[in-house]
Amino acid sequence: MAECHPVGFQWVMEAKARGAKVFHIDPRFTRTSAMADHFVPIRAGSDIVLLGALINHVLAGEHDFREYVLAYTNASVIVSEDFRDTEDLDGLFSGFDGETRTYDPSSWSYQGLEEEAAAGQSGEHAAEGRHHAETARADQYGSGGAAAHPRPHTDETLRHPRCVYQVLKRHFARYTPEMVEEVCGIPAEDFHRLAEAVVAASGRERTTAWVYSVGWTQHTVGAQYIRAASILQLLLGNMGRPGGGILALRGHASIQGSTDIPTLFNILPGYLPMPHAHSTRTLDEYLDHAAGDTGFWGNKRSYMVSLLKSWWGDAATEDNDFCFGYLPRLTGDHGTYATVLGQIDGIVKGYFVVGENPAVGSSGGRTQRLGLANLDWLVVRDMTLVETATFWKDGPEIETGETRAEDIATEVFFLPAASHVEKEGTFTQTQRLLQWREKAVEPPGDCRSDLWFYYHLGKRIRQRISDDEIDRPLRDLTWDYPEHGENRDPSAEAVLREINGTGPDGRTLSSYLDLKPDGSTRSGCWIYCGVYAGEVNQAARRKPGRSPVAPEWGWAWPLNRRILYNRASADPKGRPWSERKAHIWWDADKGEWTGADVPDFEKDKPPDYRPPPGATAQAALSGTDAFIMQADGKGWLFAPAGLADGPLPAHYEPHESPLPNIMYGQRANPARKVYNRAESPYNPAGSPRFPYVLTTYRLTEHHTAGGMSRTLPYLAELQPEMFCEVSPELAAERGLVNGGWATIVTSRAAIEARVLVSERIRPLRLQGRTLHQVGVPYHWGWAGGGVVTGDAANDLMPIVLDPNVYIQEGKASTCDIRPGRRPRGKALLDLIEEYRRE
């Protein structure tokens, strides 16, 4: 965190100064480790074992926050008899289809709901298990998760052998400190210190927070890492409470905004799922599939109709399904890696690359470039001439003679982009806080904002379209923002206002609760509704304030809530768990929830509210159902649906791992996304040719693919050359010299890097052997208008993905390392070929 979120890290330092204990769990000793009370070195790719052992520690010792667990989680729910755990199937859950490598999750449901699900009364269609696996992944449920019955069978004593609590206990029993030692390489005493600290700092008076970023996500089991942490946090009562939570530190500025109003292929604004070409032809069909009917997702029709109204305005009417048919449809995996492979296969012909540098930044660099080289046209919008725009004349494949510039037919359009100080608009940061930025200077020359680009591109397209029916969706689109300035920039405030949404009177709405399913309201993103409440740009507020949540600094979605699910910060009766940790509470006199934050609960729903039978949406949730976006209002220790690779986290080895899986017979995540392609072969697991763990990461001094840091002398001089970090032991084993050169080899590529020998990189001792890890930052590329250049780490990386969110396994693969620079030209290909053969 100190490395990649140094400004945010000041609050960790602050907490530390006030007595918080900081543990840092990372394969490498980093700037964060230096500031932590305890550094816990771990083998990349093994965290589920550590987290599982913590869960086991909590369950075995009954350290869970029982009152919280009973009230706010699904611990007491009875799971279907059909469910089989990894314990029973040696590493698989029930429902796995080995042929398609997908799960049918119907056996994971709550007891008594299997039939209901099959009957199609709730959102999750168990009978359509296959369909679920292919298109209805976690994201398909939006932020709400799958449907689940609001009142399932439960055993409040938690003794029923099939209640979630007991299922959990059995599942995690094998996650022991010994396993932590053998799989993660963490000595038992380090584990115990961590376990005791976590337990001690949880409960009524204290909370523990887990902070993670891509060290936890870029794995074939990434989503399950986060699930494991959620289970632990729910058991310890650390969710929805101040100082608790699992805090995702997001990446690029406003990357949070780009999932809220997504640049992802499978969701619509506000985490509404993208419709599917076959199963969701009508709005009703779609809504039937999208999330549950109870909880706040029960209002999904209002959110969706308001979105369609905001896009197609008056053209969207009840009669034409509010233009639902205009929406593009999914036919399968359209993720970035599938798209690139589609380019190589000649299916994808054109490509917009906006604010991204995949030729350097995405796994399997060579594959990326082969894809780019096989396009008809490519549009790159960036602030500098990044490698993605110049690969055709100076890429590594040109150097090796694999391709020649004259053979690449891709027509490349490079359009210079305005930077963040050259345009107005909001950033949504990692805490869901929208902050408005003014334009500081005019962009130079032909540089234009992305908003300008898309708006004017849209205008030009609309000028050229025919009267043909096929163009109607474009014709009907509301595409009319006030323009200002010399460059005719569309008003970003007008866009924000549209996102907020308006009521029948044309005035801005102040809450998504005001959205209507009948087409009388509009909102471009329901969770952002309120950011323009009272016709005021709430994101532009800059009042630091003295309250712990500074409510008038910017605006947080939803409804300016600073801590999500904060109902859980009070006990079931609505009293704060403790004075120290008071956040919101029920004021019986006034009959409302009150406190420092905006309650993430219906303001006037009393703690003793019990839903009447047949209630839907939020009315179906009781006064103690804190997790209001869930159909059952509970925090899910066990996920009966929604994940592609199991209802519980289980440890699987990374796709390319030097070690066997000693936890189960199943070696790697069975549902992981594998692409067996000639361009990008895998290192055989356990291969002696690739004995070292390869992990990639960032440096404070650079930014991602380098377009924004290699080009700046002040940053580039701080880390001027691509390097790799190795332990003194590995250096001795391989004859690497500090300051010298090394060549790192995988089945995909061989790259060279300067050597930094450091005791910070510690060899791990596990399973009777010493395991070395090689660390490489991934910020360098061969060109990119940079003042410094270097080989790209991503050329080494495999294309293998987490099945839930399609993220690449960038943190744990294997490699070989040898002294000296890499061969040039064809000799480089020969070297890689040699490694592939063996």
């Binding site: 330092m13 440096l699 940053l715 880390q719 001027p720 050359e721 300067r754 005791e759 003042v787």
Partner: protein
């Protein structure tokens, strides 16, 4: 003259982000200092110099990583200022030591005079440069760029007296936590330079960070040096007189 302003750099909370280095360059328009991979941990800047006015050191110890942001000490008795023959170096109303770029003729004398190895001549420009403690910002009522940018308040700016108090408290707190290796450096007016206007809390011996353990302003010895020179001059005159053939 207003209050003496200074820096207290508490290296125990420095996260090595180098924001100070970059902010300094941005504000003061300092050019890059070359692109050299030094293989000395995460430090590729190496040292303070004409084009590096803040420098973050990275020291890898057996079980930790020490990071510290170094800067001109704005000495009470500043050797650089003492020896500057043009008056380019002067003491400001904030009791800081600043080079006037329009006066400096690049004689280079201040460079070896500084007991901390701070000030340096930029060869392509010919003049000597170093931290100004953001004189221009201070005059405008702003705090220096580096301390402003520091996310963890490792660099604290303020009236020197206050900083010294704060440093004493911090030191006591660290010692109470059992971190006996913590020590203050340059805070004592009794040291060889009369105390630093920019002083430090270090977590190891100063030389580990590249700082001199007992710096002295050499001009302290100037009177004796002139005396020795006078003696040598007289010796020379006498020897010359003795060489002269007074009589044939």
């Amino acid at each position: 003259m207003s209050e003496r302003m200074g820096f207290f750099t508490d290296t125990s909370v420095c996260i090595g982000c180098k924001a100070c280095e970059v902010a300094c360059k941005e504000w003061n328009d300092v050019p890059d200092d070359g692109f050299v991979f030094r293989a000395t941990s995460y430090d590729n800047t190496g040292a303070l110099g004409a084009s590096t006015w803040r420098h973050v050191a990275f020291v890898e110890t057996a079980d930790n990583w020490l990071m510290a942001s170094d800067v001109c000490k704005h000495c009470t008795h500043a050797a650089c200022l003492d020896v500057c023959p043009t008056g380019a170096l002067f003491r400001t109303e904030f009791d800081t030591v600043v080079v006037q770029a329009d006066v400096c003729n690049g004689c280079g004398y201040c460079v070896p005079a500084c007991p901390y190895g701070v000030i340096d001549r930029r060869e392509d420009d010919g003049r000597a440069w170093k931290c100004t403690m953001c004189y221009d910002r201070q005059r405008g009522g702003l705090e220096p760029a580096c301390s402003k940018a520091c996310p963890t308040d490792s660099i604290q700016f303020g009236p020197l007296d206050e900083l010294r108090e704060r440093a004493d408290e911090r030191l006591a707190a660290l010692h109470a936590q059992g971190r006996s290796e913590a020590r203050l450096y340059g805070e004592s007016p009794g040291d060889g330079v009369g105390g630093d206007g920019a002083f430090f809390l270090l977590m190891a011996e100063p030389e580990v960070y590249g700082l001199p353990p007992d710096p002295v302003v050499t001009t302290r010895d100037l009177p004796s040096m002139w005396r020795w020179a006078a003696a040598a001059a007289l010796t020379m005159a006498a020897a010359a007189a003795a060489s002269t053939t007074w009589r044939r």
